[in-house]
């Protein structure tokens, strides 16, 4: 699988359009779109995980303090598990999501988009201790600010990527009008734009809607005031029967 960050060549080519997507081409020639997550959401996810672990340690510390030295030993073992295995176990068994990542809608995958496995997860989490250098993840922060795929050093070594999860799409609402056939052939992007126009009407002001629809009025050969209704009809026609 050849992996090509879509925005990797950006610095060389000033004309390239900057995008936060990351394209992975499968051997079948299909482009998978991954959306790598940057420093801010990842830092938030880490803070949540840190708080959870801290809370667990606090509660366990209070309970185990009753057991004396034995409890202290158990506490040390618990600390070891939380420190070294918390992320790994969650990532491997919970589709690349620790609780913090789950809350932020993130997940860890391999560079080619496949689910993260034991090896990669272990490497990326063991190398946290390099990312932490000199103190407070400074190296990791700098690394992910500089990398086009927002990778910290552990991600670079393990070949992993933190991406946004794709939520299952919901069926969008489109105005109830009688479907129409477009008077001209439409490419996929153009169809998508017309559907987008119909779907996002609720978020647009009426003046803006008329203005955008007016762009296509000459092409549709209707009066500018009727263009909006015409476009809604075409969108309904493109969508087909519900």
């Amino acid at each position: 699988m050849s992996v090509s960050p879509a925005n990797h060549t950006v610095t060389q080519d000033a004309l390239a359009v900057l995008d936060s997507r990351y394209k992975v081409e499968t051997p079948e020639g299909i482009d998978l779109q991954l959306r790598p997550a940057g420093v801010v959401p990842r830092a938030m996810a880490f803070i949540i995980d840190l708080l959870i672990r801290g809370g667990v340690m606090l509660v366990a510390g209070i309970v185990l303090a009753l057991l004396g030295d034995f409890g202290q030993g158990l506490l040390l073992i618990l600390f070891f598990l939380l420190n070294w295995w918390y992320m790994v176990l969650f990532e491997v068994f919970n589709q690349g999501r620790s609780p913090g990542k789950q809350a932020l809608g993130l997940r860890v995958v391999h560079d080619d988009g496949t689910p993260v496995g034991w090896g990669a997860s272990l490497i990326r989490n063991l190398l946290r201790f390099v990312d932490m250098l000199p103190v407070g993840y400074a190296l990791g922060i700098l690394s992910s600010l500089l990398h086009p795929g927002f990778k910290r050093l552990g991600d670079l070594a393990a070949g992993t990527l933190v991406v946004y999860r794709d939520e299952p799409p919901t069926r969008p609402q489109i105005p109830e009008v009688s479907p129409l056939r477009a008077p001209f052939a439409l490419s996929q992007d153009e169809q998508r734009a017309i559907l987008g126009f119909a779907e996002r009407q609720a978020g647009l002001s009426s003046g803006r809607r008329a203005e955008i629809a007016g762009i296509l009025a000459p092409a549709l050969e209707v009066h500018a005031d009727l263009a909006e209704a015409e476009l809604n009809g075409i969108a309904r026609g493109l969508l087909g029967q519900a």
């Binding site: 103190v135 922060i141 600010l145 001209f184 734009a193 978020g203």
Partner: protein
């Protein structure tokens, strides 16, 4: 400003993704952004350091408080770079005083602690709004994503702290051990007098360095949140697609001037000029207008020669045609010099060989040691394996046999079929003769003998895989598979008569005797001693 010229992909994103796009935007322009930031802030900090030498904390506080003022410059650079009008460092610095003027006091006082500072700044600076209009606009824009702006500010706080302490820790790590022993943190903390002021100022400067990295990114993230919000509110991406569609359909040039113009901070007449002068209609081609057309042919077509050439070049330079790989590995650097003797001076050569010999001796000793270690380690490994095998010998005996490849079970030839004994030993040598003799007294036994013998031969000579589960009919079918028509016919005949006799108690005719015995001789004459 044309939306088509935008240097980022315009489409509605989630708020977090917009922040990531902001990081990428800042990364692309990082040179100018960081240099201009440094040129503004570092002289100011120098002045503050000089004036407030006795009060380093105050210097830091004032420097930190003025952050919103410096943030206007990165936003100016980013907003121009968005439409590919990248200002140079000199232009940016020249523009800075003009940028500072509007609403500076408000930014530095009651809006200083607004958590959505980065998100609000474009409204103030690029749209030039103030007062109630501004707050109305902010209410509209802030319906969504202002939460993300607040989280951006919060995580900015955390990241700044991490980078700041990281930098300090790095400096601390780089101090030589001897110096550390002399210093001692205790002493350092106790002596808060004038002697250590420079250290506090050094810390202030390291904070300024951290800001140089983070602040442009912070501003860019806020700007991209703002852009994303407007993309969603005003459907920029749809407008872009519709304009392209209209251009394709009607063929008219698209004067893609933003409807609601981003009132960017630039001279008004410049903006008007850009608005009122759409490119000449008709033959406007976004590609040829941009490229220098040297030796361009086929210019009246949709695809010109230069474009085609470029496309071909790009394609040939890309993945399936060129696979460049960089392989890096470690090797010893000291090996080389010893192997290159200078042969012009005999003394030197002799000296060199002497050295080489000595080195060889040294090497020999080292090799000897390493060899010993090697032997010891291998012996350890082997004895460990042996110990393991011995320790688990019971387990191995019990389970290891199952670990092997599945063996084909050896087929035992059955000794009895249909209750008849068919081992070769139980069959007389002269089957046909014996049967003929027996026929007169006991035809059942004679026919049984013939059938038994047939089965025995099939089993041991023709190697038919007969099992005790087979029926007579199945045996016949197996015989058919041998494709010997004589044998098949004979077997069928014999089986028929045997079944009649054995199950139906119907005696065969006397003629059958000769037929079967002759048939037997015919079939097995080669093997049969008559």
């Amino acid at each position: 400003m044309r939306l088509t010229d935008a240097s980022v992909a315009i489409r509605p994103r989630t708020a977090w993704e917009a922040l990531d796009l902001g990081t990428l935007m800042a990364r692309r322009q990082c040179g100018v952004l960081m240099a201009s930031w440094a040129l503004i802030t570092l002289p100011l900090l120098a002045v503050l350091t000089a004036v407030l030498w006795k009060y380093p904390l105050w210097a830091l506080l004032i420097f930190w408080w003025l952050k919103p003022a410096y943030e206007r410059l990165p936003l100016f650079i980013l907003s121009r770079a968005l439409f590919r009008e990248m200002p140079t460092l000199r232009e940016s610095l020249k523009a800075f005083p003009r940028l500072l003027r509007p609403q500076l006091f408000a930014s530095l006082t009651w809006r200083r602690f607004s958590p959505s500072r980065s998100f609000d700044l474009p409204v103030l600076q690029l749209e030039g709004l103030s007062g109630s209009v501004r707050s109305q606009r902010l209410t509209v824009l802030g319906q969504r994503d202002s939460g993300a702006a607040a989280w951006l500010t919060f995580s900015g706080l955390v990241l700044e702290a991490c980078l700041y302490f990281g930098l300090i820790a790095l400096c601390y790590m780089l101090l030589p051990q001897q110096l550390m022993d002399d210093l001692g943190w205790q002493k350092l903390l106790q002596e808060s007098g004038g002697e250590w002021l420079w250290l506090d100022h050094l810390r202030n400067w390291s904070y300024a360095l951290v800001l140089m990295v983070w602040e442009p990114i912070y501003v860019a993230c806020g700007f991209s949140l703002y852009l994303n919000r407007r993309t969603a509110l005003e459907a920029w991406d749809i407008e872009l697609a519709f304009r392209r569609l209209r251009q394709r359909l009607t063929g008219s040039a698209y004067a893609l001037v933003l409807g609601l113009v981003l009132v960017f901070a630039m001279p008004a007449e410049h903006a008007l000029a850009a608005n009122s002068c759409p490119p000449p209609a008709g033959d406007f081609n976004p590609y040829t207008d941009r490229e220098p057309d040297d030796k361009a042919r086929l210019t009246n077509q949709a695809l010109t020669s230069s474009q085609a050439k470029q496309a071909i070049k790009d394609l040939l330079a890309a993945a399936p045609f060129q696979n460049n790989q960089m392989v890096t590995r470690w090797r010893f650097g000291e090996e080389k010099p010893e192997e290159e003797p200078e042969e012009d001076d005999p003394d030197k050569v002799a000296e060199f060989f002497e050295k080489l010999f000595k080195l060889g001796e040294g090497f020999g000793a080292i090799e000897m040691i390493s060899l010993i270690f090697k032997v010891v380690l291998w012996a350890l490994l082997i004895s460990l394996l042996a110990l393991l095998i011995w320790r688990y010998r019971e387990w191995l005996r019990a389970f290891a046999s199952r670990l092997g490849l599945p063996q084909r079970a050896k087929r035992e030839a059955p000794a009895m079929l249909f209750g008849l004994e068919i081992t070769p030993e139980s069959i007389p040598d002269d089957v046909a003769g014996t049967a003929e003799r027996l026929w007169l007294e006991n035809p059942r036994e004679a026919l049984g003998l013939l059938y038994r013998a047939l089965l025995s031969r099939l089993l041991h000579e023709h190697r038919l895989p007969l099992k005790s589960a087979h029926t007579e009919g199945e045996v016949l079918r197996l015989v058919d598979r041998l494709q010997q028509s004589g044998l098949s016919q004979f077997s069928a005949l014999l089986t028929g008569h045997w079944q009649n006799l054995a199950y139906g108690h119907r005696l065969p005719d006397a003629t059958v005797r000769d037929q079967l015995c002759n048939g037997w001789r015919q079939q097995f004459s080669g093997q049969e001693p008559t």
